[in-house]
Symmetry: C2
Subunit: 396 residues, 2 copies
């Protein structure tokens, strides 16, 4: 008999599975090419050639006991040093291997961080709309989620409410920019304001408040949009990164956590993160893929595809009357529904063979998410359905 | 500032690091070849050639979006089916892909299992001596550890105390055979007795009590010792397995969990385990290595090396007067110290350049662990030191 907590999780999981199953049924009924599935954030473009080359070269030329063996729970030092250099080059930071911990994806990075800093009932702030999995990560380590309502003007931060909800129990604030589900990127001004508020509150309460910056979409930006590197603005910052989206290798579970030397109790924090990697069951990030990531740290898949998809969808949907902020990054957009009930709206979308995700999944009802990590042809063929869906409600 | 719980974990971690550091200092002082480090359970023999061949063939010939992409959180169906067939062939079981969940090593398997079944304050029984990491895995999911004292005659189960300590709150029993640190293998009679006691107690309390069988050493047995497959004796059994030791790929974090169809609430349990893989941050076992494991499921490294090491060490140590049960598997043995204080004994061993681990690390004071996953030459050269250590105490 499974635990009470997991019984609830299974029921929620069933709802998502039901959506997939319905997608399959629709594909059988209408033909796969006539169903426009925008539900999943799964990279649609192949990894760069360098991934394949790296795997083969490592397997052929590096010692197998090194490549497949145990290393420090934080990862190989040479891998961490290469990645530190790659970050420094891109962002003008000064990290060394000591500031990098290799992790089982960004999800692993988030979990070792929360395990390290949270005492039971510590509060963690999230900004709606947000990736629902944060609820689970916080609960795993007995934290309490505190949600800030959406800023639906820019999908940045509702600063007024944020300031009010910080308490002496606030231990961390999770941010995600470029953002899933909105595609918004926080400006430098946003980050500075956020950092100032936290600095003031740390003083007021005599506490440490951490920013946990979840950055799997950092490289997925359009028109060279600038994404400020958070450690430059606030010292108590952890940055979680994943190669899943940049290199199109989400199944490999490879990412890292950045821990700046300026963070409170740096050495002890590093030791606790290393222990967390071990005791949570990860032990270390997969070894071969650590070495691949080091070699491919400066490469990306052909991300221009997502920019092209974004342009087509954004231009067309706004023309059809959808209200939407223009994404600056990721492969998501988050338009407003034509009715308040987003679940009802997404149900109606199925009449037009569109599979889209209700905003309430991201704690932001009245909106819906489109994941446009798909081929351009599907995007173009889906446009009449989006138009028909809009027309259905505009007529009312 | 890190959490109170992690502060303690860091202090414990420092003790282990201190041992490593001391080993390094000794190596600098006496020369690496004159220090006999038997502290770590790290495979010393190369992976079978099939691992390399599988990686290269998969990278060259399977579609890259499949190889590196997301799949069901339980793993690829074809991989799970291959592994089920491999188990069936070896153990006469009847598993299909539905009974196999790919995991981030055995540590991942243990954690998703405990996350799935434990409500807060549920009790989990462990048999001393045991792998200390179980304490962390149980605490991760808010369980309470209940320890049974060692059976120092055979290092099997102290059945009398076991029966007394099962309560209405007992949710699981962790077993590990072949055993770290003793090398003991439970007999079929042991397993039958264990199963009968649990069946009776389930009836008595009207509860479900699970066996969690942690089996990273299943293939590491000597003289064809038989290791009963637990699902054949008790239906509420989870089996956690890792390829770390068998294929000498511990850094890759690849293993699986077996969930027999007869387990209580099978479908719901499977769904909860899948959700656990996702929400604990693993998401799925590393994708390329899943596909490698499927191809190499019937292969092993040249495990005969460990049998040879065991014979040399066991024959010599018993000749020198050490009391020890003869290991039937793993690459560990667990002799009795010549004095009650095992920490003092291991400290004294350093005078003879021997690095061994006190039994109290495994909740069994008065003993010490030797990890003989090292080259034969080191074993042979270490023998005079083991003799001198024995002589030191025999003279008293």
């Amino acid at each position: 008999m499974i635990s009470e907590r997991m019984k609830k999780a299974v029921v929620n999981g069933s709802a998502i599975r039901a959506m997939f199953e319905e997608g399959k049924i629709m594909a059988d009924k209408y033909g796969k090419e006539n169903v426009y599935d925008f539900s999943l954030g799964n990279p649609s473009i192949v990894p760069p050639e360098s991934v394949k080359n790296a795997v083969i070269d490592i397997i052929n030329n590096e010692p197998e006991m090194l490549v497949h063996g145990y290393m420090n729970n934080c990862g190989y030092e040479d891998v961490r040093e290469s990645i530190a250099k790659s970050i420094n080059k891109k962002h003008g930071t000064c990290f060394s291997f000591k500031n990098i911990i290799m992790t089982v994806g960004a999800a692993g990075a988030m979990n070792i961080t929360l395990n390290t800093i949270l005492d039971p009932n510590d509060e963690v702030i999230v900004f709606a709309p947000y990736f629902g999995e944060y609820d689970n990560y916080i609960a795993n380590h007995q934290g309490v989620k505190v949600m800030i309502s959406p800023d639906t003007q820019r999908f940045s931060i509702n600063f007024e409410e944020f300031e009010q909800k910080i308490t002496a129990k606030t231990k961390a604030v999770i941010i995600n920019t470029p953002n899933n589900p909105t595609g918004a990127v926080y400006t430098e001004e946003d980050i500075k304001k956020l950092a100032q508020i936290l600095t003031d509150k740390e003083k007021q309460f005599g506490t440490d408040i951490y920013i946990i910056s979840d950055e799997p979409y950092r490289e997925l930006v359009f028109d060279n949009a600038s994404v400020p590197y958070i450690t430059k603005y606030y010292k108590n910052t952890f940055v979680g990164y994943s190669y899943s989206k940049t290199l199109s290798i989400p199944g490999e579970r490879i990412g890292y956590l950045v821990v700046p030397s300026e963070i409170k109790d740096f050495e002890e924090t590093l030791a606790a993160l290393s222990v967390s990697n071990r005791i949570l069951g990860f032990v270390n990030a997969p070894s071969l893929m650590q070495r691949v990531a080091a070699r491919c740290a400066d490469d990306t898949s052909d991300l221009a595809v997502y920019a092209e998809n974004k342009k087509i969808l954004y231009d067309s949907l706004t023309e059809y009357g959808y209200e939407c902020i223009e994404p600056k990054g990721t492969f998501y957009m988050f338009p407003k529904c034509f009715i308040d009930d987003d679940k009802e709206f997404c149900k109606a979308a199925k009449e037009f063979r569109l599979i889209i995700v209700p905003g309430s999944t991201f704690a932001c009802p009245g909106y819906f998410r489109i994941a446009y990590c798909t081929d351009k042809d599907t995007i173009i063929r889906s446009l009449p359905s989006f138009k028909a869906l809009a027309d259905k409600y505009k007529q009312i």
